[in-house]
């Protein structure tokens, strides 16, 4: 059964139509990549799923329940984690406080501590910097914090927006390793990426978004070998 079903979703900003009837499915424990150029509507798609950008038409269902039009915090509490574009960590709060806020809905202190320890287990560097302010971390560490913070909330589905943006290749590799391990923990992932090669290598399936529409879809490996994808997104001629 699909954990997330997006049907004919349209959304936009003023006169601009950023999403134009997009339909995607994400299965339980599946990792799905959304690739596309700048302005293709990838970020808007995630924003519309969590309700930051209102849907103009179409529907979103999570675990079979419609969530279209629900406020963002309600969607988050249902089990959809969101690591938004640009990391959006809390720069003036310590790493620990950032992680604690990730588990805001967790009222059991013991469980919260366990979840934080677990998240730090994936990114040991965070454990060393617990008392440091989020804004003082390097870009890679901030991205790790954003990911860890989302995981502390124990999401069933995690939406990741450009986790590799502006990071050194070695750090990208480290972060993608962790993303790849999420499926084993039963977490479904929607991965929005410009780094199509890395994203498709990781993903079970992929969607190609162009000017707000899905133009191509298929298993990750298949897409990675598709001639059109190779020409447009993998820089091969």
């Amino acid at each position: 059964m699909a954990i997330l079903e997006v049907r004919d979703l349209s959304a936009g900003y003023g006169p601009i139509r950023a999403l134009d009837g997009v339909s995607i499915d994400v299965g339980e424990g599946e990792t799905v990549a959304i690739i596309g150029a700048n302005g293709a509507g990838k970020t808007t798609l995630l924003m519309a799923i969590v309700g930051v950008v209102p849907a103009r038409s179409g529907s979103v269902a999570f675990q079979g329940r419609p969530i279209t039009g629900l406020p963002t915090h309600v969607v988050s509490r249902m089990g959809i984690g969101h690591a938004p574009e640009g990391r959006r960590i809390f720069p003036r709060l310590s790493v620990r406080e950032n992680l604690e806020l990730g588990g805001f809905t967790q009222t059991d202190r013991q469980a919260l501590k366990r979840d934080i320890d677990e998240a730090c287990g994936m990114f040991p560097v965070l454990g060393e910097r617990m008392a440091q302010m989020g804004g003082t971390l390097s870009g890679g560490e901030q991205q790790m914090l954003a990911l860890a913070r989302a995981l502390v909330g124990r999401p069933k589905l995690l939406l990741l927006d450009e986790p590799s943006l502006g990071l050194a290749p070695l750090i990208v590799e480290r972060i993608f390793d962790v993303i790849g391990s999420l499926a084993k923990r039963g977490i479904s992932v929607v991965l929005v990426e410009q780094n199509a090669r890395a994203a498709l290598r990781l993903a079970d399936r992929g969607y190609v978004l162009e000017t707000g529409r899905v133009t191509l879809t298929g298993p990750g490996a298949e897409l990675a070998h598709d001639r059109r994808v190779r020409e447009a997104y993998l820089g091969e001629g």
């Binding site: 930051v52 915090h73 509490r77 809390f90 805001f104 302010m133």
Partner: protein, 367 residues
């Protein structure tokens, strides 16, 4: 406004709690000293006692504003209007010209509920506003409230205000002591009532800082979208900030009207007062409880305690027999005040006792 790049220095640990409630030993020491002061300093039984009482009341008002500006990052330029609404509510419920004439305590409870409700009413339509826009709306609200209080003469007494506001405990006799009379004669009763209220508000703020709601306020201040992604309802958090801030400001207003036994005229609740309280919070340190209190002690204390004292001293010394304003302290008051503010903001932009967060950010002893 772009934030300066934060430094990499780790945050200093929180000060150890005394009983987990009063977060620093200094606060306890200050409380004991202030509680003992009227017994040792006879002057507090006179006009000085009333002035210090006013100081405590402004501390409560500044802590109310700190909830909005310090914790939640919502700029509020109309806090004095809630101060005024609290004062007028209490007056309407207690002055002889109205039929209610209920006691101070129930009247204060109603006044606090009314100001909280008014805060919600202002907050609800302005939820989407931030920064400059919210500042303008709250400024406008403050002016509207002031003009309304002035023009509803049949209800508010116009420029005369409402009086006499009876003292707390009027007509109540405890162990042969007429409480109302005691309050009316000896300013130390109001001194203790306001000190007690201030201590209660400080305690409540400490609890708030460590509570889930307190953390949610800060998260919304730092990044609203990210806070929502954590499951925090920005709507509820901001409305809570409005309600809490307004309620505490209303409490300060109740104490103010009762201690003066009048609401004073509506100009006592104008923009200048809002700005003065905001300056006190910024001077002391945004988001910092001891900082806010120190800011008020300096700014308001300068005005209500030091300036009159310096003036009377100059008069006594016969330095200024002609009464020229160039030689009176009050004539220079605003100039000194302004200069001091400029210097503090230049050399200590995070405030005198900053919250540990801002201190770490603005003092780049960095990597």
């Amino acid at each position: 406004m772009a934030a300066p790049p934060p430094s990499a220095a780790p945050l200093p640990p929180r000060p150890a709690g005394v009983g987990g409630w009063l977060a620093s030993r200094w606060e306890l020491v200050a409380l004991v000293l202030l509680a003992a002061a009227p017994l040792c300093i006879p002057a507090l039984g006179g006009a000085l006692g009333g002035q210090v009482t006013t100081l405590f009341i402004y501390c409560i008002l500044a802590l109310a504003l700190n909830v909005m500006v310090g914790y939640t990052g919502l700029v509020h330029l109309g806090i004095a209007s809630f101060f005024g609404i609290g004062a007028y509510c209490l007056a309407i419920l207690t002055v002889p010209m109205y039929p209610f004439r209920i006691g101070f305590l129930p009247a204060a409870v109603v006044a606090v509920l009314v100001t909280a409700g008014t805060g919600l009413a202002l907050g609800a339509p302005t939820l989407r506003l931030r920064g400059d826009y919210l500042a303008i709306v709250t400024l406008g609200f403050g002016e509207v409230a002031k003009v309304t209080l002035r023009n509803l003469e049949q209800i508010t007494g116009g420029m005369k205000g409402l009086n006499p506001v009876p003292p707390p405990g009027a007509g109540v006799t405890v162990a042969g002591l007429d409480l109302g009379k005691a309050f009316a004669i000896d300013p130390r009763w109001f001194y203790y009532l306001s000190l007690l209220s201030l201590a209660g508000v400080v305690l409540a703020m400490r609890r708030l800082e460590t509570s889930r709601l307190g953390r949610a306020l800060v998260a919304v201040r730092e990044d609203e979208l990210a806070a929502q992604a954590m499951g925090i309802s920005a709507t509820r958090v901001k409305l809570s900030a409005f309600a809490m801030s307004s309620a505490v400001a209303g409490l300060a207003g109740c104490l103010y009207a009762a201690s003066l036994s009048t609401t004073a005229d509506p100009n006592a609740y104008d923009f200048n007062r809002s700005i003065m309280v905001l300056c006190a919070v910024i001077l002391g340190g945004l988001g910092s409880i001891p900082g806010t209190i120190l800011g008020v002690a300096i700014l308001v204390g300068f005005d209500t305690v030091l300036a009159p004292w310096a003036d009377s001293w100059i008069q006594q010394m016969n330095i200024n027999p002609s009464g020229s304003s160039a030689l009176s302290f009050s004539g220079w008051r605003l100039a000194i005040f302004g200069l001091a503010l400029v210097f503090v903001m230049r050399y200590r932009p995070e405030g005198l006792i900053p919250s540990r967060r801002l201190a770490a950010e603005l003092h780049e002893e960095g990597p």
